[in-house]
């Protein structure tokens, strides 16, 4: 090979951004086409440095906008290469059009989104507005709660996305600053082991295969558009979940680290549970254990795969829980939070008597403290004891001013 390998310690102290950059290096991406934006910049900056230092063989394309960045990724993926990039917030918003192009053209691209609030007002800190903005774009979405997972999920994203039965692009989310700029111990794989997991890229329907000429990005009006969309949705619902489970299983065999479409913590006998994403899952895990010492049977469900959404698994884990809180880190703009709606949808038409309440929290990086979570579990236990939701169904956590509650 023409590039150098890097010696890593078994445990490196990396932030989420550097962990993702290292994963991209170890996957030997052919083309990274990128435009910088806080807080995701260090991912592509790190990758560019690896390229400059001869640790990667691929192309690094500097472009004039995020729209161009994803357009470059689409072109490279259609040509038949392994492709990745990273962005956040406004950058993702500018990419919006091309996100749908990438998924509609069935191009396996890995996009790291370092989750950040959407302006206005301008804010560089972490919330899930950008993750939610992309939720109907036809991409697979994974969510990391800490730097270790930002590293691991990149390998899994390539593995699933590039599978010839899948060929759907994949997003790896991590919390802006709370994961991306927080250094923690990351268990590493050596370069050969890591590359061995994703394997050599095998193109399919690539434009540079001149023996079999193909067209990408075609026009289909009412005659075929619906069938393409329906078939793609069908693959998301029926093929992708099993492929994700297979990749999780293979990754566990290799590293001992086990991932699941939904992560269950202290849920076996839980009376009350919090469902959330990102770093909040880990903080809630710690608080749930402390609540159990006080006699409240508290649990946590973390969403690991946001798309395709694991409806059946959510229904199964929550069906016997008495009171559940859905935590959404995005302004819902005039409706219930997305997780509230997904969970309600999963449990509706079942026999479950679960009481569901929704909470909006942490916008623009506002801290979710352990004290907030203690109060939340206490409120859920009161709902469970009363056999009904004692508050409005939608509340806010940690916002100043008069109490806000709706529905």
């Amino acid at each position: 090979m023409a590039f150098d390998k890097m010696e890593l310690r078994d445990i490196e102290v990396w932030d989420g951004n550097f962990a993702a950059a290292q994963a991209l290096r170890q996957c030997q991406v052919d083309v990274v086409s990128a435009y910088p934006i806080t807080p995701s910049t260090p991912i592509v900056e790190g990758y560019a440095k690896f390229k400059a230092d001869n640790y990667v063989e691929g192309e690094f394309v500097m472009v004039e906008s995020e729209h161009a960045a994803m357009s470059g990724c689409i072109g490279a993926a259609a040509a038949g290469g392994r492709v990745a990039t990273a962005t956040s917030s406004q950058g993702l918003a500018l990419m919006a059009e091309t996100l749908y192009q990438a998924s509609g053209m069935r191009l396996p691209i890995v996009l790291n989104i370092v989750n950040r609030a959407l302006a206005a007002p301008l804010n560089v800190n972490g919330d899930h507005s950008d993750m939610y903005m992309a939720r109907d774009s036809g991409w697979i979405q994974f969510d990391a709660y800490c730097p270790q997972e930002a590293y691991d999920l990149n390998f899994i994203a390539f593995k699933v996305s590039e599978d010839h039965d899948v060929r759907i692009p994949a997003i790896v989310n991590q919390d802006g600053f709370m994961t991306s700029h927080t250094a923690q111990g990351v268990k590493t794989m050596d370069d050969d082991t890591a590359y061995g997991f994703v394997g050599e890229y095998k193109p399919m329907n690539d434009m540079l295969d001149f023996e079999y000429p193909v067209t990408h990005g075609v026009q289909t009006e009412e005659d075929w558009h619906f069938e393409h969309k329906a078939r793609q949705h069908n693959d998301m619902m029926t093929i992708v979940p099993d492929k994700i489970d297979a990749a999780f299983a293979e990754f566990e065999k290799l590293t001992g680290r086990k991932y699941n479409q939904i992560e269950e913590y202290s849920m076996e006998d839980a009376d009350v549970a919090v469902v959330c994403m990102g770093t909040s899952v880990e903080t809630a895990r710690e608080v749930a254990l402390e609540m159990r010492e006080k006699g409240i049977k508290a649990g946590v469900v973390g969403i690991r795969v946001f798309r395709p959404f694991p409806f059946a698994k959510i229904a199964e884990v929550l069906k016997d829980v008495k009171a559940v809180a859905a935590l959404d880190r995005s302004a819902p703009g005039g409706t219930a939070g997305a997780l509230f709606n997904e969970i309600a949808g999963a449990l509706f038409n079942t026999d479950s008597k679960m009481l569901l309440s929704g909470y909006i929290y942490g916008l623009g990086g506002r801290d979710l403290t352990k004290k907030h979570l203690v109060d939340l579990y206490t409120e859920l236990q009161a709902n469970a004891d009363a056999g009904k939701v004692l508050t409005k169904q939608q509340q806010f956590i940690g916002v100043r001013g008069p109490k806000l509650a709706y529905l």
Partner: protein, 185 residues
């Protein structure tokens, strides 16, 4: 759980210092976390950085912290920031200043009855590294006050972490760490 809060100005190396400390501690088998509040910080703006250390995996991601140690690496922040916020009775303060501990406490009444240590990291950095980057000297002072590790082990670890820098700069940092270790009171 050991928790540390750094008070710094953007550009003085608190984030690098916090990450460097986390890296050293991680090699001894403990779990670490290092993070900072940035906002859209400009060079020179007051900022805070944080370390958590524990024997088990650290799951707490809240930014709220009641620190065991507070490091102040810019002398003016004792007056312009509340360096005692969310402090505990047992919190130890290591503060960069040209004053003696008694003079400092007299000038900032909030520090009365607190366990305060002083060391002039700015002067040490100027005289050794040639630039007012007070982060590594602060870690030398911390090793003395906390008795966390033998200073020789700590310096060896820091040599690895600073590895990419020119040897002259690494050597100067080692002298700075040792001086702060010897001079903190």
């Amino acid at each position: 759980m050991l928790e540390i809060r750094w008070h710094s100005r953007a550009g003085q190396g608190a984030v690098t210092g916090a990450k460097g400390l986390a890296d050293v501690i991680s090699t001894t088998g403990k779990h670490v976390q290092a993070f900072a509040f940035y906002g859209s910080a400009k060079r020179g703006a007051a900022m805070t950085a944080y370390n958590r250390v524990d024997d088990k995996v650290i799951m707490n991601h809240e930014k709220y912290m009641e620190p065991d140690y507070v490091f102040v690496i810019d002398p003016a922040l004792v007056y312009t920031s509340d360096v005692t916020i969310n402090g505990k009775e047992s919190t130890k303060y290591i503060i960069t200043t040209h004053m003696s501990t008694d003079e400092l406490v007299a000038s900032q009444p909030k520090l009365a009855d607190k366990e305060v240590y002083t060391v002039d990291c700015i002067k040490i950095a100027q005289e050794t590294i040639g630039r007012p980057i007070p982060n590594t000297p602060m870690l030398g002072a911390f090793m003395k006050v906390s008795e966390m590790y033998d200073i020789e082990f700590f310096k060896e670890s820091m040599q690895r972490i600073l590895g990419k820098l020119p040897q002259k700069i690494i050597d100067a940092n080692m002298i700075a760490i040792q001086r702060a270790y010897d001079e903190v009171k």
